[in-house]
């Protein structure tokens, strides 16, 4: 039953990949969406079955077959559903189904084969993602980990005729390789250290070990795994691929680059919580990287002009939050934010897709504005999701973000807390900058018919849009004919058609309500979400004796839960911090309204006053350029001059050609012996015979 959850999308992939070319769009799209929906239903049933079990052994295991047997080592292809993977499969299949539904409408202008190709990739992605979260050992997880990377590559490069898209795909793939390499090393070290790859076995084994105060094996393993996570989850220093990944179709950005794949790193840390808990050095690094990424990406998001890139940096920033939570040991809070983030960020991406769809491929927010009354469904869902991500009280983002900030503060990381709060301010500001520039204010899109009038609006658009050196305005991903702006005539903008609208509305509702499963104690709730997850992070069975080989019989004394705090202890402090961050969120929204709606000249003046800072942010701190200069160019030089012109040409080719020259050189001498003269041959025979005879006579 459990295996059906990933296998259904896989079946959908097979059908669409092999016969999709001949299927009409309604069937290939319907099939892909249908399998996801069925998968979601099965997932819900399984999770309900799981919830019916007693908390300390909530697990559903299914072994498909023995995968590897070598000596005394054996590894099963096994799936395990526990409280943590339950959250993940619900997010993946639930939000995945909605995004599939949305895509049937969004991708409708593609031809039949392209449409089927798109859905086959999307289904394959869901299969791998589900394997990643359901795998009961590191290797199954790794299969999923690599598989989602592959699908991400295929989908970023979906419009492969476009050079920028195929470049972005390659960039994502190569950057991920760096992280994956570290991940493999970490997995191998795990195998060597624990002689097992099963998460549960490892967790129990680690539990019996003391915390590693100095840098040792556990720290190395966790650090390597974390480097893997920085690649997949776009953290410093490997985040550079995610903004470029926006070249893919927008629903892909929503599914892969916001809701699911990029959270794999966070999930992986949660899955190995016991391991990370015993390596405090790594945890500190995780927290610092997370907080730094959150703040860093937030500042870049503040000045970007491409609607999807703003959201991409926002995703990087929110992922930083999740890692901050993981790093301070608040695993439940991190997964909680992962879960709420999936709703509002998917909603934001799908909303931006609806905007782009309505504007026939326009992505530059300087050429938007005033869309509120044209596309009301998109507008309202987008605003709800923005409010949720900003952390305004009583929406989902508020609960999860506050829990992270609270845990950070209580764990004694005040500096990181300040960084988190600043990020919170930035988040609210850049999100509402996006909302205002896109939906409010005067209409600047081509063919606008608003109060400002078509001519002046297009004039404003060109003045606005092309005054700066704009970061390449992206080519329309949806192959529409560019709308022609007839003076006096307006273009009628279509709001999202029903499949898109359904997805948007459901996700907007999710953005409001998803947080209520984890209402904190300070607000009279019981943090059910945290309680649900805690047994997983504590590897449950606290106080019991382990039965695994080497550790059999050792009673596990240390049994302090990962999150051991008395829920009532800091209620007052939590409430206080909550008020602070709510005020900050509102301040951010107010600031954005003041700057980009009421006094639009101020941002421009600030940009003019501090051109250096503005340029630095607009060019993303020149990180791509720095990487190019410090890593890519040296590698290129070493490759061309050293490996190609040096080693390959001189050594490899030299050896091969040298052998040839040697043979022909020796031959030039030797062939003089064959002079065609019978007498010489006879003489050599004679001498040879005499020599042989002489040898036998005198030996």
């Amino acid at each position: 039953m459990l295996a059906l959850i990933p296998l259904l999308p896989f079946a959908g992939f097979l059908v669409n990949a092999f016969v999709g070319k001949r299927l009409p769009k309604s069937i290939s799209g319907g099939l892909a969406t249908g399998v996801m929906a069925i998968s979601f239903v099965i997932a819900v049933m399984q999770v309900l079955a799981l919830a019916g079990m007693p908390p300390e052994n909530r697990q559903i295991n299914q072994t498909l077959f023995t995968w590897i047997t070598a000596g005394d080592f054996s590894l099963d292809l096994a799936l395990r559903l526990d409280a943590l993977s339950a959250v993940m499969i619900l997010v993946i299949t639930g939000i995945g189904s909605l995004i599939h539904l949305y895509s049937t409408s969004y991708m409708h202008d593609e031809t039949d084969p392209e449409f089927a190709r798109y859905f086959s990739y999307l289904n394959l992605f869901c299969f791998f993602m589900l394997m990643l979260v359901l795998g009961s050992n590191v290797l199954v997880m790794f299969v999923g980990w690599e598989g989602v990377g592959l699908c991400s590559y295929l989908l970023i490069g979906y419009y492969y005729e476009k050079p920028s898209a195929s470049d972005a795909a390659k960039k994502a793939f190569v950057v991920n390789r760096v992280g994956d390499f570290a991940f493999i090393l970490g997995a191998l070290l795990l195998l060597v250290t624990f002689n097992s790859l099963d998460f549960y076995t490892i967790a129990l084994a680690v539990k019996a070990m003391p915390q590693e105060v100095t840098f040792g094996t556990l720290s190395l393993i966790t650090l390597l795994l974390f480097i893997g996570a920085t690649g997949k989850s776009a953290q410093i220093p490997l985040y550079v691929w995610l903004p470029d990944a926006m070249e893919g179709p927008t629903p892909v950005s929503a599914l892969i680059h916001a809701a699911t794949m990029v959270t794999a790193g966070v999930y992986m840390i949660g899955r190995n919580a016991m391991l990370f808990e015993h390596a405090p050095i790594t945890l500190t690094i995780v927290a610092i990287i997370g907080a730094a990424t959150a703040l860093f990406a937030g500042t870049i998001g503040l000045v970007q002009n491409d609607i999807k890139r703003v959201l991409a940096y926002s995703t990087v920033s929110q992922l930083g939050y999740m890692f901050l939570a993981m790093g301070v040991g608040a695993y439940g809070a991190g997964i909680f934010h992962l879960y709420t983030h999936a709703f509002f960020k998917a909603c934001l991406f799908l909303g931006s897709g609806a905007v782009i769809h309505a504007l026939h491929g326009e992505q530059d927010i300087r050429n938007m504005g005033g869309l509120k009354k044209h596309i009301p469904i998109t507008y309202w869902t987008f605003v709800i999701a923005s409010v949720a991500i900003a952390g305004v009280p009583f929406l989902s983002g508020f609960f999860s973000k506050d829990e992270i900030l609270f845990e950070t503060f209580v764990e004694g990381h005040q500096v990181l807390w300040v960084m988190g709060v600043l990020t919170s301010l930035l988040t609210a500001t850049y999100m509402f900058r996006l909302v205002h520039l896109t939906f409010h204010g005067e209409e600047r899109f081509a063919g606008a018919t608003g109060a400002t009038g078509a001519t002046s609006a297009t004039g404003a658009a060109s003045a606005h849009g092309h005054a700066h050196a704009a970061p390449a305005a992206h080519v329309a991903p949806v192959a529409h004919v560019a709308p022609v702006a007839h003076a006096g005539h307006g273009v009628h903008l279509h709001d999202a058609p029903w499949p898109m609208a359904t997805a948007l509305i459901v996700l907007a509702l999710g953005s409001i309500l998803a947080g209520y499963v984890g209402v904190p104690h300070a607000l009279g709730g019981h943090n059910n979400f945290g309680a649900w997850l805690t047994p997983v992070f504590n590897a449950t069975n606290c106080g019991q004796t382990t039965t695994t080989g080497a550790l059999a019989g050792i009673a596990i004394e240390e049994c302090t839960p990962v999150e051991e705090r008395d829920p009532e202890e800091h209620a007052g402090l939590e409430l206080g911090l909550m008020i602070v961050s709510s005020l900050i969120a509102l301040a951010g929204i107010g600031l954005a309204t003041y700057l980009w709606l009421k006094h639009k000249e101020i941002p421009a003046r600030m940009a003019a006053q501090y051109p250096g800072v503005h340029r630095l942010l607009l060019n993303k701190y020149y990180v791509d350029e720095v990487y190019d200069a410090t890593i890519i160019q040296p590698i290129k030089v070493v490759s061309t001059e050293g490996l190609w012109r040096g080693f390959d040409v001189k050594v490899i080719d030299g050896a091969v050609n040298g052998a040839g020259y040697l043979v022909s050189g020796v031959s030039i001498v030797l062939r003089l012996l064959q002079n065609g003269s019978v007498k010489t041959y006879a003489a050599s025979m004679f001498v040879g015979t005499v020599a042989i005879l002489a040898y036998y006579l005198w030996r």
């Binding site: 062939r671 064959q674 065609g676």
Partner: protein, 99 residues
Amino acid sequence: MPIGHYLVLSGLLFAIGTAGVFLRRNLITLLLSVEIMLNAVNLAFVAFGRVAGTNDGQIITFFVMTVAAAEAAVGLALVIGLFRHRESLNPEAFTSLKW
């Protein structure tokens, strides 16, 4: 007569034949020299056969003579062919079979 005498004569004949092969510049003389070498060997065979008291030496001599006759026939035919080709019997004229 002791066997040594026969062997000395045989050795002398063989040396004469060998010298002929190396020193003469006429293909027909070369063939003649080869015949002398073969007969030197025949003489040694017969002498050894007599010492051993068997007929083996004489039998093998008949074989050698037969082969020598065949060789002479083929060799002369080749020599005639070569002469028609080059108007020469000097073996040094026929060195085109080389690199």
